[in-house]
Structures are given as structure tokens and as C-alpha cells.
């Protein structure tokens, strides 16, 4: 197994878990909307995961970059820029006093992220298989 395949495998795991995370966010936000959770609890729960998410995603981007896999790196670039931008303007965390105002926006972001990570998941799966098959073909 080459580094390339390992990178794709890593991508597979990370994008899979991030898909689940995004869906979980959407569920939490809908819970807030239907009053199953209060905004203070919601925000403290979600905020604990904001930095790990960004960290995982940027780590994956670095791995692709180091491996010289330009297409998956390019694919992840917009989200990375968006995350950095959010960090720079200090709006990455959920604020319980403002969460209702931004609720539609947060949900939209959640759905876009979920779709994006799911797409990535299948792309990485494809990438990994192709890499592995190519490796095997090369061996034969």
C-alpha cells in the first residue's frame, strides 16, 4: 500500500465522520427549533467540536497536499478558505444569544457540509480503489 492509498483511506475515514458530524449538527439545530434543547446547552455542546472539525479537515488537506494529489486538495480548498475566514473573523463558535437569528444560515451550512463530505467520501473511495488497483496492476 502506497502513501497515496493511505491518504485516500484517511480521507475516507475523516470525510465519513465529518458527514456524521454535519448531520448531527443539523439534528441538534432542529432540536433547538422544536424546543427540545435550550440554546446555552446546544452551543456549549456544538462549540466543543468546532475546533476538532476544522483541525481534521485542514489535516486532511495537508496530507493530500504533501502527497501531491492536487485534485482532492483543490476540492477541499474552498472549505478550508471558508474555515480560515471564519476563524479570522472570530465567528466560528455558536453564540447562544444570536443562535436563533442565524439558525436558517447554520442549517444551510450544515446541509451543504453534509452533502460535500458525502460526495468526498465516495470520491475518496473511488480514488482509493483506483490507486490500489493501479498498484496491483503495476505489481503484476
Amino acid at each position: 500500500m502506497t502513501w497515496e492509498a493511505i491518504a485516500y483511506l484517511l480521507g475516507l475515514l475523516i470525510s465519513g465522520s465529518l458527514t456524521f458530524y454535519a448531520v448531527w449538527c443539523i439534528i441538534m439545530l432542529s432540536d433547538l427549533e422544536s424546543d427540545y434543547i435550550n440554546p446555552v446547552d446546544l452551543c456549549s455542546t456544538l462549540n466543543a467540536w468546532v475546533v476538532p472539525e476544522v483541525f481534521l479537515h485542514s489535516g486532511l488537506f495537508t496530507v493530500f497536499l504533501l502527497n501531491g494529489q492536487w485534485i482532492p486538495a483543490l476540492l477541499n480548498l474552498p472549505l478550508l478558505v471558508w474555515n480560515i475566514n471564519k476563524m479570522a473573523s472570530e465567528t466560528q463558535f455558536f453564540d447562544p444569544t444570536l443562535v436563533f437569528r442565524h439558525l436558517p444560515q447554520y442549517k444551510k451550512e450544515g446541509i451543504i457540509k453534509a452533502v460535500f463530505f458525502l460526495t468526498c467520501f465516495f470520491y475518496y473511495l473511488y480514488g482509493m480503489i483506483v490507486t490500489l488497483v493501479n498498484e496491483n496492476l503495476g505489481l503484476v
Binding site: L32, E33, D35, N38, P39, V40, C43, S44, E90, D95, P96, T97, L98, F100, R101
Partner: protein, 867 residues
């Protein structure tokens, strides 16, 4: 008048037919109050002449009662108008067309051209006309606009109708309003009856069915059982009349809540005072004044059952706590210099019972002013003080009252002076209105849910970064009082602080409150405005609810509304100061209409302007100042740009804007919003961001009836008061009548005149050079103009007619705000210093001032945008 009686063929003279046809429509609105006949004010003349002026409009005397008048058949060319003296022909035409009849037809119109008819602001609103039998009993008291006020007194039946009308639909609530003078207290109910499904409280609009055994919920139409005690008193064993029950005969009632409505025993009133004793505060003398004000209000703090608790923390570069004990009369000061992790020395002697420790508290407060005279510490550690206060009261909740003069500048929550004069008028200015330090937002998140409110009394002469501190008050339901440039050596400053502080401490607060609005199915509230924390989509958490605070909500329609009437019910669950859990419920019923012209007939433009201002203030805090200003302008133009054919509006001549009669003052109110301290453009004129933040808090919290005066000041000529002004009216003997207001224009200022201007937080007397010596003698007890100097004015109580009346007017104006504000009366002479004059002229919104448009220019701007 000739224009309207001849030449029916010309396009611009079409309106007589339209008006005539409007008359004959069967659904002409019953009950619109007759309007005054003339736009004219009497010419400057001696008071004796005014008594004879018949065309003078007097709000109190106008047939204000909404008399049903369906058979109103007055001719458009009524002879009374034809005899008018030749004024500006435009406004004459306008007066005739607007007033003489068209307002009784479907959509009356006004042509905006001349000066705005500011006196129509005082007129009673068109009444809410509900279909007969809407209420269970005919003799019920409908909801007063001071409790709940809608921008439209009817509800569109679909979202598309609302969208088509382009109107702003929202509701303002003052859930904890204190009783005004002469108002009877709210009826109290002991048994709570609610709908099983939607939890609506029983109200006058429910219907009884099944022989009176069931009641039909007016919101969700569910049949509920009528409890037995409605008809039979089990204690006295007598039948009772259910329609005598207060909740069926009053739209606003107060329920005593049983234990199910408590998550813990009701909390006692708790007041923690954080007092800045750094060098700045010593210099301006605010410590002594605050201590004196608190000392004098100790007896008035709501404490009927002796449970109120107080704590004092003074702060400079260290925290000072005061150990107070019931035995000792000597308070012990405990200094905690460790600000990184401040500990609480003797935690159970810091927060103490007010009644028990009264001698020690008295001793502390009477000495507090002198204790720090020698202080040279310039640090002010607000952050650690807030954290300590929070730790002291986190198991109870209560009020933290911060009185400070300095910028918090050390340790946690230290702020920098980021005021930038060059930022005025640029995009950077909006950043100055946003919080700078994350400490305060994390502190907010810690206190949410702990039932803690933070209030601010700011005595700063310089910058205190109120923008970073204000969110504490905003999310916890607190108030902000600001005294820029306060000096204890000026008696007028001291008076203002003393009376506002005393009223603040003595007012009845609601503790640990939550507020919820329910409405008929299909109605939704997408956004709320005001000082609150939104705990779920429809539940406002108010750790403390102030009687002066108003909340507003946008109203959106999700699907088409069924039925003839829509209902709104607000419920405030709170703990009263004497430890009772209570629910204050208000129910508002509005008819559902399907025509745009019916909607336009029901506009309450003051409420529209209030909501517009609150939305703009909210926008400033989340987006940019310029965006908020643009949004206000856009919405105003949008609302005025109606489908004229649909509403049957008359076409004006060139330069006139035909608008529905019910929106005739909207451009002026909008101009008031744009020129107010909250949204004013600072291009060229520096406007400190602290003042703007304080003004934004006022706009967000003032109820519409007060906000109206905050936006458009009341302006009265004292040298020619109308004969009944300042005297009690016939209908309400304990209510002083106010004179008709003047247009807010410097054209009205006359050299021989003396004028009064009142704008809630400021009040002025303007005096011309040639003011009549008799008036000066009778009002100020001076012989000539030169004996008075510009600046704070103490109006003497003289035994003259005019003096008594002016004092009565001032007292009535102060009562409008329920004495929450006690601004200093400033005398502005014609030759006053430029700064004072510009402060005064800033309130004359019809003028071109502060690099902003005059009223006429603004009309031109609207006309341009409408095309």
C-alpha cells in the same frame, strides 16, 4: 377651493368624483374620528386673541371618542373650508381633500407637500372594529395599546396580501407596564383555566358551547371543559355569574400561579451594587451621589416582606467587599487585591438582608463618598468584580447594578480606548458599536439561566467602550442610564441622577420571568427585538423584567388565516417582589381582512415607526450602520409607494406625493429615526460611539407611545399657549391638557417667543431676544432677557397663571414616561453658546441640520425613489 369645484375633465381634478363615489360605498368605515378642520396655527399674537381662534385644534377637546358615524354624508366642498383665508394653495387643497371627508371612505389619501401635520400624531387611533359577538360578554375591556400594540389594527388574511401591501406587520408589548396615574390596578384571578392543547389562557374571546359546559378555545378551536367553580361557589354554596369573572371581562389580567409554575421557591429581590471608586469616579464625585441616592431609596426598594438582599462591592485596582452584620453598625471593608482568581471573604456576610442589616448599610452608604477621596488608583477591574458578584448571587439570581465612570482597564475584561474620531461616517464606525473583548460575551453565557440582570449607570466624561458592555444589559433585560460629563458640583446633574436612580430602585421589578406570545394558527413571530434572551423560538427569558421595557416582534403569516378574527395572547410569568409567582396575560383580538384598502385603513403609523426604529437598531448591532439607515429609507419608500389605483388615491399635482391618510406622518417619523442619536449620520459631526450605544438601547426598549416623543420631540410655544393648555380637561379632571404641538422647524422660532421642547431624555426652553418682559416676569421672575443665562434652568414656582400652567405641562410630560427619565431643563437663549444651540436644533428634524436632509428634501428623495 376653486380647483376642486370646477373642471371635472382635467386629469388632476378627478378626485371629487372619486371621493363622492367613496362616500356612497356601503362599507365606509364607521367610527373614524372627525379630524380638525384646518392646518393653520394662529398667527403670532397676544394670548387674548387666541381664545377666539375657532379653527384651533385641541387634542383634548376634539370629539376624540370613536363615535360610530356610518351615515357620514358631508359634502366634499363644505362651506366651512371655502371661507378660509388664502394660505398656501397647496396645503389648502390638501387640507380640504384630506380632512373634509375622504378619511371616512375606503382609503383616504393625503398629499405630502407642505409641512407635515404633526398634530395628527396626537389623535386617537382608528378603533378596532370586531364583528359582533366576538367576545363572550358585551361589556368587556379590550386590550389597551400600552400593553400590546399592533402596527396594523387588522390582520391580512394571507401572506400574499401582506406582501402586496408592503406594510410592516409587527406587535409591540410592554408586558410589565406599571399602572399609569388614574388607572385601576389589574384584576387578579386565582384559578388558572387554560386550553388543554395550545395552553391558551381563558380570555374574553372564548365561546361557550354545549349548553355552557364547554368552552371553545379561540386560538385552536378545541372544546374544553368549563370548571364547576365557574357557576357555583363551593365555599359559600351559592351560584355565581361566570361573566363576572375578571378573565372573561378584562383582556389584561393577572393570575396567581400555583406551585406547578415554580421550578424553585420564588427568589427574593437581590441588588448587588458594583461601584467604581477609581480616580475618575472620585474626580467627578459620582461615588457620593450614588451612595446618597441608594441611601435615600433604601426605604423604597420593594421589600414588603423584608426579604430583599443587598451587597456592595467597590472597585478600583482591587476589589473591596463590605462585611455587614445585623449586630454591628460598623461595616468592615475587606480588600481583595488578587484579581486573577478573586475569593469571597466571609461569603455569608457580604450579601445580606436589607432590613436586618440596615444600620450597617446606612453607616456604609453615608460614609462611602468620603472613603475614597484620597484614591489615586486609575485601574478599574470590572471583569473580576462581575465574576465575584456572579459567584455571590448565582444560587439566587438578581440585579447587578454597575455604576462606573472609568473604562474597565485591568485584568479580565480590560478594554482599550478604540474611539476614533476619523472613523465617523465610515464603515469603521460600525465596528466601534460591536463588542471588543470576548470576556463579556463569555460572561453573558455564564449568567444566562442564572436569572441575573446587569444594569449600567455610566458617569463617564470620556470613552468607556459601552459597546462592549451593553450586550450584558441587552441579553439580561437590563437598562442603561448614561450621564456624559457628569459632575457632582453641578446641582442639576445631581438632581437628575438622584431622581432617575431613586425611581430605578423603587420601581417594581418582576424577577426570574419568562414571556411567551401565542397567536392564532398560521401566525408566526420570526424575530423579537428588545432587551431579552431568546430561549426558544417563542420564549423570551427575562431574568428581570422592567416595567419600562418594551419588546417587539415581527409577525409573519405562514398560511391563510381562517375566521373573521385573529388573536394574540401574551403571557408573562414572573416572581413579584413580595415572592408571589404571577402570570400577566394580555389578549388582543384583531379583525381579519382580505382587501388592501382595509389594511391601509388600519395602520398605526406610530407603532410602524417604533417597529421600524427597533428593527434598525437591531440591524446596527448585527450589521453596518449604513445598512440600517438604508433599510429604514427603503422600507419607508416601499410602504409609501402603494398601488394608488387599488387604494383609490387622488393624484396630486406635480411635487405632491399621494399617500394613504394613515401614513401621512411616516416620512416625518422616519426622518426622526434617521436623525435620532441612535442612527444619525456622523459624517462631519462627531457622534461618540458610547452615546450612540446608549441611544440604541433606548430605541430598543422604549414603548411606542414614548419612543414617538423620543423621535419627534414635543414643541410648544409658551408665549401663546392655547387657552386650555396646562389646565385639567373636562373629561379627565386629573389629566393636564397639552397644547397642540408645533412643527419641528426653526421657522416656528420667533424672536418675541419662548418655546418649550421635550424629547424624553432632554428638555429645553428656547428664548428669543425680544421675549415679552411680562412673560419673563411671570414665568422666570426676571425683568429682562439679559438677566437670564443659557444653561441649566430652574423654573421658579410662581403664583401666576402661566407659571402654574407651564409647571403642569412639565409634570404631565414627565408622567408620560412614568418618571423613568428626569432630564435637566436647559435654557437656550437666542445667543446661547453654539454647542447648546446645536443640541437644541438637532431636535428640529424638519430643518436641514447635521448634514442631513430637511423634511422637504426628504420628500423629494422619496419622490425620486418612488419613480
Amino acid at each position: 377651493m376653486s380647483g376642486s369645484t370646477s373642471g371635472h375633465g382635467a386629469r388632476r381634478r378627478l378626485y371629487p368624483e372619486q371621493i363622492t363615489s367613496a362616500y356612497t360605498q356601503p362599507n365606509a368605515q364607521a367610527g373614524a374620528p372627525p379630524l380638525p378642520s384646518s392646518a393653520g396655527y394662529p398667527p403670532n399674537a397676544a394670548p387674548s386673541q387666541i381664545t377666539q381662534a375657532p379653527q384651533f385644534f385641541v387634542p383634548g377637546e376634539a370629539p376624540a371618542a370613536p363615535v360610530p358615524n356610518p351615515g357620514h354624508q358631508r359634502s366634499p366642498a363644505s362651506p366651512g373650508y371655502a371661507a378660509q383665508d388664502p394660505m398656501a394653495s397647496l396645503s389648502n387643497q390638501f387640507g380640504n381633500m384630506g380632512f373634509s371627508g375622504a378619511h371616512n371612505a375606503g382609503a383616504a389619501s393625503a398629499l405630502l407637500a407642505g409641512p407635515p401635520e404633526i398634530w395628527t400624531l396626537e389623535q386617537p387611533l382608528p378603533p378596532v372594529v370586531l364583528p359582533p359577538q366576538t367576545a363572550a360578554t358585551p361589556h368587556y375591556v379590550p386590550c389597551d395599546g400600552k400593553h400590546m400594540r399592533s402596527t396594523l389594527n387588522c390582520v391580512p388574511n394571507s401572506a400574499s396580501l401582506l406582501k402586496k401591501s408592503k406594510l410592516l406587520f409587527g406587535i409591540t408589548f410592554t408586558p410589565f407596564k406599571t399602572d399609569d396615574e388614574g388607572e385601576s390596578p389589574l384584576p387578579v384571578v386565582h384559578d388558572i383555566v387554560r386550553c388543554r392543547r395550545c395552553r391558551t389562557y381563558l380570555n374574553p374571546y372564548v365561546r361557550f358551547t354545549d349548553g355552557g359546559y364547554k368552552w371553545l378555545c379561540n386560538l385552536c378551536n378545541l372544546k374544553n371543559e368549563v370548571p364547576a367553580f365557574f357557576d357555583y361557589d363551593a365555599y359559600q354554596q351559592v351560584p355565581v355569574d361566570r361573566f363576572q369573572r375578571p378573565e372573561l371581562s378584562h383582556s389584561v389580567v393577572e393570575y396567581v400561579a400555583p406551585a406547578q409554575y415554580m421550578s424553585r421557591p420564588p427568589q427574593p429581590p437581590v441588588y448587588v451594587f458594583i461601584i467604581d471608586v477609581s480616580h475618575d469616579a472620585v474626580k467627578n464625585g459620582s461615588i457620593g451621589v450614588m451612595a446618597q441616592a441608594i441611601l435615600e431609596s433604601l426605604d423604597r426598594i420593594p421589600n414588603t416582606d423584608g426579604r430583599a438582599m443587598v451587597c456592595f462591592i467597590t472597585v478600583d485596582s482591587a476589589l473591596h467587599f463590605y462585611s455587614l452584620t445585623p449586630e454591628g453598625t460598623e461595616p468592615q471593608m475587606l480588600v481583595v487585591p488578587d484579581l486573577d482568581d478573586p475569593f469571597l471573604p466571609y461569603p455569608n456576610q457580604l450579601l445580606v438582608n436589607l432590613s436586618e442589616c440596615r444600620p450597617a448599610i446606612d453607616a456604609l452608604l453615608s460614609r462611602l463618598g468620603e472613603m475614597f477621596l484620597g484614591t489615586t488608583a486609575t485601574g478599574f477591574a470590572l471583569g473580576p468584580a462581575l465574576q465575584s458578584a456572579k459567584r455571590l448571587i448565582q444560587h439566587i439570581g438578581g440585579k447587578i447594578i454597575v455604576c462606573h465612570s472609568a473604562l474597565p482597564n485591568i485584568k479580565a475584561g480590560a478594554l482599550k480606548n478604540r474611539e476614533d474620531v476619523k472613523a465617523a461616517g465610515t464603515a469603521k464606525e460600525s465596528d466601534l458599536l460591536k463588542p471588543a473583548d470576548p470576556f463579556y460575551s463569555s460572561f453573558i453565557q455564564q449568567v444566562l439561566g442564572l436569572q441575573i440582570t446587569v444594569d449600567f449607570f455610566v458617569f463617564a466624561s470620556g470613552y468607556v467602550d459601552l459597546a462592549s458592555l451593553a450586550p450584558l444589559a441587552r441579553t439580561s433585560g437590563g437598562s442603561i442610564y448614561m450621564y456624559p460629563g457628569f459632575l457632582s458640583t453641578r446641582p442639576e446633574d445631581v438632581n437628575q441622577v438622584m431622581s432617575e436612580m431613586k425611581r430605578f430602585l423603587s420601581r417594581d421589578n418582576g424577577w426570574e420571568a419568562v414571556f411567551r406570545i401565542r397567536a392564532s394558527p398560521g401566525i408566526r413571530f420570526p424575530a423579537y427585538y428588545g432587551h431579552h434572551f431568546l430561549r426558544s423560538t417563542d420564549l423570551l427569558a427575562l431574568p428581570n423584567v422592567s416595567p419600562d421595557h418594551c419588546y417587539a416582534a415581527d409577525v409573519a403569516l405562514e398560511n391563510d388565516l381562517a375566521g373573521p378574527v385573529a388573536f394574540f395572547q401574551s403571557a408573562l410569568l414572573y416572581t413579584s417582589s413580595n415572592g408571589e409567582r404571577r402570570i400577566r396575560v394580555a389578549t388582543l383580538a384583531l379583525p381579519i381582512v382580505s382587501q388592501v384598502r382595509d389594511l391601509f385603513r388600519g395602520i398605526d403609523q406610530v407603532a410602524v415607526a417604533a417597529l421600524l426604529a427597533k428593527k434598525a437598531a437591531d440591524r446596527v448591532l448585527s450589521a453596518k450602520l449604513e445598512d440600517a439607515r438604508k433599510a429604514v429609507e427603503f422600507k419607508t419608500v416601499d410602504m409609501l409607494n402603494v398601488d394608488r389605483a387599488e387604494l383609490g388615491l387622488i393624484n396630486g399635482t406635480l411635487g405632491q406625493i399621494p399617500v394613504p391618510r394613515s401614513l401621512n406622518l411616516l416620512p416625518l417619523l422616519t426622518l426622526g429615526i434617521l436623525k435620532g442619536d441612535a442612527l444619525r449620520s456622523a459624517t462631519g459631526v462627531h457622534h461618540p460611539s458610547d452615546l450612540r450605544t446608549a441611544a440604541l438601547a433606548q430605541v430598543l426598549t422604549l414603548p411606542p407611545e414614548i419612543l414617538q416623543t423620543y423621535l419627534l420631540a414635543k414643541f410648544y410655544p409658551l408665549h401663546e399657549l392655547s387657552p386650555e393648555a396646562g389646565l385639567p380637561s373636562d373629561q379627565a379632571p386629573n389629566l393636564t391638557q397639552l397644547p397642540p404641538p408645533l412643527n419641528l422647524s426653526s421657522e416656528k422660532l420667533a424672536r418675541h417667543g419662548v418655546f418649550l421642547l421635550y424629547s424624553v431624555t432632554e428638555q429645553y426652553v428656547w428664548m428669543g431676544r425680544d421675549a415679552h418682559p411680562n412673560l419673563l416676569r411671570d414665568l422666570f421672575s426676571v425683568g429682562s432677557y439679559n438677566e437670564l443665562t443659557s444653561g441649566p434652568l430652574r423654573l421658579p414656582q410662581l403664583d401666576t397663571d402661566i407659571s402654574r400652567r407651564v409647571h403642569a405641562i412639565l409634570a404631565r410630560l414627565a408622567a408620560l414616561t412614568r418618571h423613568a427619565f428626569a432630564p435637566t431643563l436647559q435654557l437656550v437663549k437666542e445667543d446661547a453658546p453654539a454647542q447648546l444651540r446645536s443640541q437644541f436644533h438637532a431636535h428640529l428634524v424638519e430643518d436641514k441640520n447635521m448634514n442631513m436632509m430637511s423634511y422637504q428634501q426628504f420628500l423629494g428623495f422619496i419622490r425620486e425613489k418612488m419613480q
